[in-house]
Subunit: 308 residues, 4 copies
């Protein structure tokens, strides 16, 4: 089933192909300029650091519904091993197997393709089984350190958690921006809070996974108009799921990643940040959210921190 | 063979057990106060970001000499898979298996023990095969964002790379501090450059591994006196290897991790940073180097970035 | 809570420690003598081969309830990769991550310990985090090729599948032996069918897992009296689960593995074999069920085949 | 560079496409008929079992030269864990990550393709990144239990180990057959010994890997003429490597797997078997060498055993 005209119309309006040159592999991360970084650093006032990653553990957010996206399996290869002889300094080492999109993560630009194409008109088949993303891999991403802005949609709606079917619309973003008392600027990393993470934190993985509130296919235009560098939220699917338009699956992924070349973050824990921002009456901060440079990676676990 | 008296003498002088309470699990990360973070942010002037992680790939720094510390094995679980039917948005996903200490990483506080003890007098057997570090795990680490200071020992010696057997002494650190034109302060994350990484970058993993220049067992006192939050360098072994004192293996690990409760970073790529600092005549910067919160982890890959 | 006297009484009666010498590491596999193997080969009459392993796939029998016992994750490291240049012979390669006890498997002798001891009075702490089983590991097992005998308890009860709570007693085994028209002999590998596998084959992993029919803690004496070499069945837990005696968990594992030194097989698919044996009116056959020699392994996946 | 005419000429002569029907997915395993199995069982005389697998360990035969074909990494997920409370039966569990072609293994029919085709004219692109071999996967293999025949080429040459560059020719196979005093028959699994394994057993992985003696591209016709079910040997590359004809890489793989549909075994340890056969003056035996049923697998570890 081909993608509908409505999708293609939006795609045309948010497309960034060629904007930063034919060889560009980082998309909207280009918008994090030195000036943006300097201004972001100036957001640090109290020095308070708020971590946004979920603990990495086998009891993570994955339910097994997505084959291969396995929760972290952490095992020890040594426990207090006295490799140099009895009584010497002893060593403990460990190893992990995990899906790169399993926990708190960034989707890389190659995480989805449509119509045989990736961002910047790269062919989808530049992704191979043995090398992964030979172009646009997550290792190409420049360091993600910029101004962060929390759009606390749940709080703006006066609730702890938006209901499962709630579509986060551009209007919702406007309202949350108003609550924040700050305008989204070029180069910002925008964090959108739905409160859906409360399901997982309460031990209910199934309700966390589905049905999920999430971003509307109308939001990419909103982000594009503001020249946002990246967007992350506190859900498994990022966008509303099941989708707004019957049989149009993952349109937001396709618009953000393929058309705009904009990284998406998922499974970010924004609960503490929501409290801190409300308490400090301040919704902007310095955000550090470095990609691990997996060569050919379609994504990466990330341990983001907001510094207020 | 028991640890020699010399070791125990130093151990007593740098010991931090109980300093932040009997329940403390983060050691010198306590020194990164809100004031330190604010001052660190004030170091950002040009907004230039310098990444310090090596690419994560199977052809990484591990040679196989340390069993179980495997280089990253990255494979695809989906390549442009149209899971919702032909013509729909297609998905690419991936999975990784890797040693937590295999690439650019932080050693966690449980990475070594001696005399049956971990930092803060925790018993070594609090590390278990199924749970890893039940106390002091890397997931306990607070966000590592602080002032960074590069002690470019190689450059201070007028060389690109210190020779394999070079012991980095407190005097070397003094000289590098002089070059930096800045004093190490409480809460700083200190990066010590030997240039050893040039071996690996030139494709020579064996020479990179061994023999390696590295920190002297006299340096923990230097770092302790200055209340440093953490130290990282550009070698596989961190400390001089083979060791200064015959049969005294990994004394610096034992002093830093067990006695002081101070994280160590290894396999950091400081080459570009060395050039940038020299060009900007400035050796201090904002450093972001977040641990991935592996529950029970003895360490963590890290993607550090220096922001000048 | 200490193991009850009843357990220790049975333990004494089935104990094989020292029977094959103080250094023995294979237990009842010693009972597979050359004569036993020759007699086993003589069981081959029709030449029909019946495989007994479940397919190895991510959608395997594990539900996630046992942390770390992960279903097989199979990924490609190369797909038609022309490593010698365009137009040359192309290569496909793959890699797997899996729990050794996750699918159709043998429990090794170190899979359980009790009272700090393993089979043949080995200390439990001879199992280490870095080396696994330094004694009694699955790589020590001699090739498991012997006479197989199917005790089709479900069929003897006139049912396709025993109910979840059914305790398989010595009397059940007697009845099934009668159905088989053959006596269990020294060195036999006995397969006990409950029909529980039908749940999994019908797509219901939860019902397969729990509650499960399984062997009574009275059966080890039955197997010991007959000098059986090994026993396998078609359940996840092998023994009745939840257990017969409140708070006495896994007594059959402890008796079989620790006291007798007898391997146990689990998750064997005995459905086709049940049909074939009934059709051929013959319940004995040549059985090949080789352990993969994982050094230090507590178990091994196995691909058993019955040859009639 | 296209495959040369010489290759295509041989290919035509050994091709089995369509021989067992258009839907066949097991190739020459069809030749293991019930009669063959019965005759194989009749080879058991002394009851002596000789295992042919190398131990599975991280220090395996792989040198790292083939990316992704990783030696087994075995770690514990539990060591004597008392999951039901103190004093209860304690559990040890383990997990492995390994290349399916890393150790003693069978190449599956999809391990190589040429000219875009797999065995029986299946398209090469029926292998996908997420599912592996959707046709012809190793899980389709019927149980490999048949008559085994050792062609001890090294012994026939009066040497312990053929030199690195030795091409094993049809004439070599004839001579070894003469030594064996038995003719290869339809359905046999033929084991070809070069003695190359002695390098690895002596601790020299590099010499084991390369240069290697191995089968000539003239041998597939020899095996085809005799309707052999499968062939295995004691080398890493199976065929002579570097190849006989410049720039014609892996022709034997392409002929055996793609044209004939015949499984190949590699890294089999035939040293003990060589001694036993010579001592018993008998080179035929019952061979059990079951594939583990990895769904979509291009190969499988195997623990073969010869029973004399």
């Amino acid at each position: 089933m081909p993608l509908p005209q409505e999708f293609h119309d939006i795609a045309k309006r948010v497309n960034n192909w060629g904007r930063w040159g034919a060889d560009d592999e980082i998309g909207t991360l280009n918008l994090i300029t030195r000036r943006v970084v300097r201004d972001a650093a100036a957001c640090v006032r109290s020095g308070r650091r708020v971590p946004l990653a979920l603990p990495l553990r086998q009891d993570g957010v994955q339910t097994g519904a997505i084959p291969g996206r396995v929760n972290p399996l952490h095992t020890m290869t040594a426990v207090n091993q006295e490799i140099f002889g009895p009584g010497t300094v002893a060593i403990s080492d460990d190893v992990v197997t995990m899906g790169l999109q399993a926990a708190t993560h960034w989707d890389g630009l190659t995480h989805v393709s449509h119509s045989g194409r990736l961002y910047n008109n790269r062919p989808a088949d530049s992704i191979t089984a043995h090398g992964g993303a030979t172009r646009l891999g997550i290792e190409k991403a420049t360091p993600i350190a910029s101004r962060g802005l929390l759009l606390d949609v749940a709080r703006a709606h006066g609730t702890d958690r938006l209901p499962g079917g709630h579509v986060v619309t551009p209007e919702d973003l406007d309202t949350a921006e108003e609550l924040a008392g700050a305008r989204v600027r070029a180069g910002d990393v925008v964090l959108v809070r739905t409160g859906q993470m409360r399901h997982y934190l309460a031990g209910d993985r199934q309700s966390y996974a589905f049905p999920s509130p999430g971003l509307s296919l109308r939001t990419p235009e909103w982000f594009h108009a503001r020249d946002v560098a990246a967007v992350a939220n506190d859900t498994l699917t990022f966008e509303i799921f099941p989708p707004e338009i019957r049989n149009l699956w993952l349109p937001v992924h396709a618009l953000d990643l393929v058309e705009m070349g904009m990284l998406q973050g998922q499974n970010w824990n924004l609960e503490e940040l929501s409290e801190v921002c409300a308490a400090e009456r301040r919704w902007t901060f310095f955000l550090s959210a470095m990609a691990e440079p997996f060569v050919g990676g379609s994504g990466t676990p990330v341990a983001p921190v907001a510094i207020l």
